[in-house]
Symmetry: C2
Subunit: 513 residues, 2 copies
């Protein structure tokens, strides 16, 4: 018997087996109110109320519904409600500037946009056929409680469930189409390799817009795990939540764990969750010293994964091997800073060029309305990660040695250096610019701009940074600017980024963190 | 990207990520020798040697290869080698009589049969185009080491991977066709719900011919888990292996755990694996007293599952819920004797008739060359389990009240023979019990208990009946008790109720009223 593998599998099991168990614990946001502490039974009712609302609004199957929101119970509900009814969810990074979000709206052709009250003002220019502010108002205006929604006419595991926009290497973000099957397989393998179960308590330290929270909202529901919403990353607040809710599992970029380590230094009393919490880190492996501190100062189990939005995202998984358990902490931490072994069902190989290639059911269906880019990234039946790496033949662990030259990962956010360069170049005082990632203890990498002034121009560092913040999300702005007389180029006029990076990364074994 | 979900995913990950880790630990059999202690890298080489051997023999894709064997590394290898090359494996119960195996050979049309040396004589009449005895002889005669096998021409997740014959309650066994997708999904969900990981050590207490060892050989390989072969169930030997290999995970029918409990009573010293081992029990929920003893006397975590060969097999899973952890042991054990909540991706419902129905990707493709039986069991798009049950709306747990045929209807009341058996078994003087309905002029059917006394016990009929009436509604108590020396079971340990009933129903046109 073949049954379509869809997102419904996760919520249906939550409702069937965990109807009266704690489901999603929201947190308040001003001026709106949180969703009351909810069971999985209640989550199912609310999901159907959203769906019936979209039915009443005339939003058809296949239409795109965009959500611009911090982590919230409502965003989580929409990650189920939209795709389970055959519509397509477009979760958008709430830190993007209004013009950037407007581009996503246009490119995805979304007919509905829902925005969090906290970004209501900032997104005032973001419109669609239907626009709603999340909170009690949507419950009155849009949701239809107790009305049975129209079922998805033809549940199909190959249908697109979500479109997640990457910052990409080119100036314009691309929409990554993930199918129900992509998300299903990612959810099962991620749950399998993290050993998640109903006794876990999951804290959303990762933004849910980010590749659908790596699929965790789905598989946590499917396993009946209590999910605690966290709207903003704050180290001390994370420690308090771990204590208050008995949290056992979290995901996040290195910056999250650095924030927790900072907070732990000033924490009064025993660190909560010692020998109980396990964390999953991705984005870029942190320095092994950070890993060692997580294990020693927090007593939390550290696991590293590697993947991209295009891979749902989990490609590899790295947890201390049984045979390595007795190694010195430093050596263990060093091994944990590798990307890891492929998840079940993932094939990896390294091309002659050094690029890491992947084949798996977690690989994207395509980029939304970009057939050429899709064909290029899936050439020869393999997904081209754009990252350089190597595989240790002895234990099958992948190490990423060189990231796609133009992407900087800072605080877990991917930033296209080309986009930053374009923005800086639009300043009349700039003649030439190159943007690179340089190491940073807190953020993994941080953004540095090398600038050649236009003749006679007197532009300074503060002005460049302000210019960037006026035209892009703040996290994309450089944190430092250096002025040069020239930027060295190859004979054919290409900037060799790795040469520019070299002096900053000296003494490290790779040029990315 | 769509990639076929096939059995290759499990072995490929084992070879990629665990090439040098312990894979399969065989045990000796006379007169043959065991496969030397093997890594997963070596397992991969041996699998390819089998495949190249079948190529040389001219065995084509889609042809059936039968294996009649006790648990052994070679049987495990063939469970990978045959389906991964597009052929179909037919694992056969080695305890069947020769004529029964001959029927399986004919019905499946197998062109190859491989038999374990221990059953070489008993299966002398079992022939096919090619017959081999497993052991060193096959390594010379059949296997081709170092020869690259012909790859499967068109890997297809919907292709049949194995045909497993059910012992069935009807006269002739039926061949259950499981596809690669069936086995893939069962493996992932079983691994997920048992929280299996690379630090586990799995002991094969379950026959691998039995629904491919419930899929465990596959998912254990995929997770890099060391697998220890056990040829014969023996309680003391299981305890020794748990000790010797640091076993953490086992599967089996209640009889296995009874054997271990018996051995534990005479075990010298601390029980191995206390607070480390978890066991998975299926076949029929054991009496709750057995569950309680497993937890108290062995200190092993008990989980109950429910399924059938037709469902790959895992449909439901029952482990103590976090909210039940503090319950009294007896109450916890009672709850654990239920079938459990559906595995991820499984939908269950109970038909008006009381029959349990299931929909899932683990449900069989069909019965081999039996279109009518296939259509009947999959009527209306649901798999008909043939078992009667009920679902607790509060926590979604399924309870199997009876094999449909084993419901006794007496005086208009439905009585579950399992419930009566459970009650009788709770009497300390009882070693084994089977409860059946026998014809009765007044009540239609009346309840009869067949009892094997515990060693040294002197319990009599009146005492059994009084014990039942003290613990259940009066109508559920047997009206007669017969004492036996043993209760006959099938090769897989099942009591065949229809055989027990036969003598009482002679000359009637059906076996229930």
């Amino acid at each position: 018997m073949r049954v379509p593998m869809t997102i419904a599998d996760f919520l249906d099991r939550a409702e069937f087996g965990f109807a009266n168990s704690p489901g999603v614990i929201d947190e308040p946001v001003q001026p709106a109110t949180p969703v009351p502490t909810s069971t999985y039974g209640r989550l199912g009712e609310r999901v159907r109320a959203w769906q019936a609302g979209f039915d009443a609004l005339g939003v058809g199957e296949g239409e795109r519904v965009a959500v611009v929101s911090q982590n919230s119970a409502r965003l989580l509900e929409l990650l189920f409600a939209v795709p389970m009814s055959g519509r397509i969810a477009v979760p958008v990074n709430f830190r993007l500037r209004s013009e950037e979000i407007e581009y996503v709206m246009r490119q995805s052709g979304a007919s509905v946009v829902l925005v969090d009250p906290e970004v209501e003002q900032a997104t005032a220019g973001v419109t669609a056929k239907h626009r709603f502010v999340l909170g009690e108002r949507t419950e009155t205006e849009l949701m239809r409680f107790g009305v049975e929604p129209r079922p998805w006419s033809n549940p199909d595991e190959d249908a697109t469930a979500t479109i997640n926009y990457t910052s990409g290497t080119t100036a314009r973000p691309k929409g990554v189409q993930l199918t129900h099957r992509n998300i299903w397989v990612n959810g099962l393998t991620f749950g399998l390799h993290t050993r998640a179960w109903e006794r876990d308590v999951y804290l959303h330290t990762l933004p849910m817009f980010h590749c659908n929270g790596w699929g965790m909202p789905y598989v946590m529901a499917g396993l009946g795990v209590k999910q605690v919403v966290l709207r903003k990353v704050d180290g001390a607040e994370i420690l308090r939540r771990v204590d208050e809710h008995g949290v056992t599992l979290m995901c996040g970029a290195p910056a999250v764990w650095n924030a927790v380590l900072d907070a732990a230094a000033g924490w009064d009393g025993a660190i909560p969750g010692r020998d109980r919490v396990r964390i999953v880190c991705a984005g870029a492996p942190p320095p092994s010293r950070t890993i060692q501190r997580v294990e020693e100062e927090l007593g939390w189990e550290f696991t590293q994964i590697y993947g991209l939005t295009e891979t749902s995202p989990v490609l590899t998984f790295n947890r201390t091997r049984p045979e390595d358990a007795a190694l010195p902490a430093e050596e263990r931490a060093r091994k944990l800073s590798r990307a890891g072994v492929p998840a079940l069902g993932v094939r990896l190989r390294v091309a002659d060029s050094g690029e890491v290639l992947a084949r798996s059911n977690v690989v994207l269906d395509g980029y939304w309305e970009k057939p050429e880019e899709t064909a290029a990234v899936l050439e020869d039946g393999w997904f081209h990660t754009g990252d350089g790496g190597s595989i240790d033949a002895a234990d099958g662990h992948l190490t990423i040695s060189d990231r796609k030259k133009d992407v900087i990962i800072t605080g877990g956010e991917n930033v296209s250096s080309i986009e930053v360069e374009d923005t800086i170049f639009s300043h009349p005082g700039v003649a030439e610019v190159a943007v690179i990632g340089v190491p940073d203890t807190k953020w993994g990498e941080t953004i540095k701009a090398l600038v050649v002034r236009a003749p006679g121009a007197e532009v300074d560092e503060a002005e460049i940074i302000a210019h960037c913040k006026a035209h892009m999300a703040g996290y994309k702005a450089p944190t430092s600017v250096e002025f040069r007389d020239a930027i060295p180029r190859t004979a054919t006029g290409k900037i060799q980024k790795f040469k520019l990076r070299e002096p900053y990364w000296e003494g490290r074994d790779r040029e990315v963190n």
